[in-house]
Symmetry: C2
Subunit: 191 residues, 2 copies
């Protein structure tokens, strides 16, 4: 347990979920946290989509209570995050890897790539957020770069070096945890 | 069973789900059907978000098989549909009523209204699609009109007459079932 210099802060922190202060928390938690901050500060309206679940059987143990007793996870047909920022539609997928070498394309579905492509084509802002957990580094990559690589017949992954060269490191802070809209500003709104 | 004049069409239709040809299908089916058409014809990228479900317990009856055995429906914090159209973020909620008189605000959550408001503020296109099933009429109403009404202290519903006056009737066809983007074109893209 890390000892904080300020007792009050330490006490305050006890009431927060561990994910807000600890290292090694998931990218999803970080992004949800950041999106809440962006929403509350009225900077953007970006939400994670619910995980698609196929409900098979529902019980009603009492009035007004529906209990799902058989259901299965479905493969997502789109990306995890979308919303509105500075008048533009924003859409992205976020993934993390334990590898120090590369990010394998196996963990991105082809229909997610096609979805990102469609968003670009229709004038939205589309990108992918990749975290290399071992380095605690998170990058934002323009969707078109990743789409092109993904569609190369013999390319099965994007290397860490390529991500460093073609992506943009997202600054991490306390609030928001991931300042990814700073990168979006630089990348899509600077003329 | 309706007899179609053309045998071939009839045979083709057998392979389609009944919802594509029958009357009285749900608004959700109609919109999903229309969104698939808009997606496949590369006119827009609009999807229904999955229903948010809180998973409590998952069993693994075999390898690679996750069976959810306890889960509950959660209240949606946003709207059901969103995506990209003509470079703009598009976001809407769809509801139907059996009433011939009015549409009650009870069936729209306050955070959904706040979400639509935020989408408007950030430059997205936001609206609500309302169907009066008894008349088989479906209207598109600009979100701001509904938001204003919803926030009037003593107003508990929008009347059928108000919907007729302030909304726009969506033309119905075979493909797509609901030509709601025609209304969006007229309402948001005409200068």
């Amino acid at each position: 347990m890390i000892q904080y210099p300020n007792r009050k802060s330490n006490k305050e922190l006890e009431h927060k979920p561990i994910s807000h202060v600890g290292r090694g928390m998931s990218l999803e938690n970080d992004l949800n946290d950041s999106n809440t901050y962006y929403l509350e500060s009225d900077k953007a309206v970006i939400h994670k989509k619910p995980t698609p679940i196929q409900v098979v059987k529902v019980d009603y143990p009492s009035r007004n209570c529906a209990k799902i007793v058989e259901a299965y996870y479905k493969v997502a047909s789109t990306t995890d995050y979308n919303g509105v920022y500075r008048g533009k539609a924003i859409d992205f997928e976020a993934k993390e890897t334990n590898s120090k070498v590369s990010f394998t394309f196996k963990s991105i579905h082809e229909h997610q790539i096609n979805h990102l492509d469609a968003v670009c084509r229709h004038g939205g802002i589309a990108f992918v957020i990749l975290r290399f957990t071992k380095f605690d580094e998170t990058y934002l990559i323009n969707a078109n770069i990743l789409i092109d690589m993904y569609r190369q017949p013999n390319k099965k992954s994007i290397t860490y070096q390529e991500v460093q060269e073609m992506g943009f490191l997202i600054k991490q802070g306390l609030t928001p945890r991931m300042r990814y809209l700073d990168v979006v500003d630089d990348l899509y709104f600077k003329n």
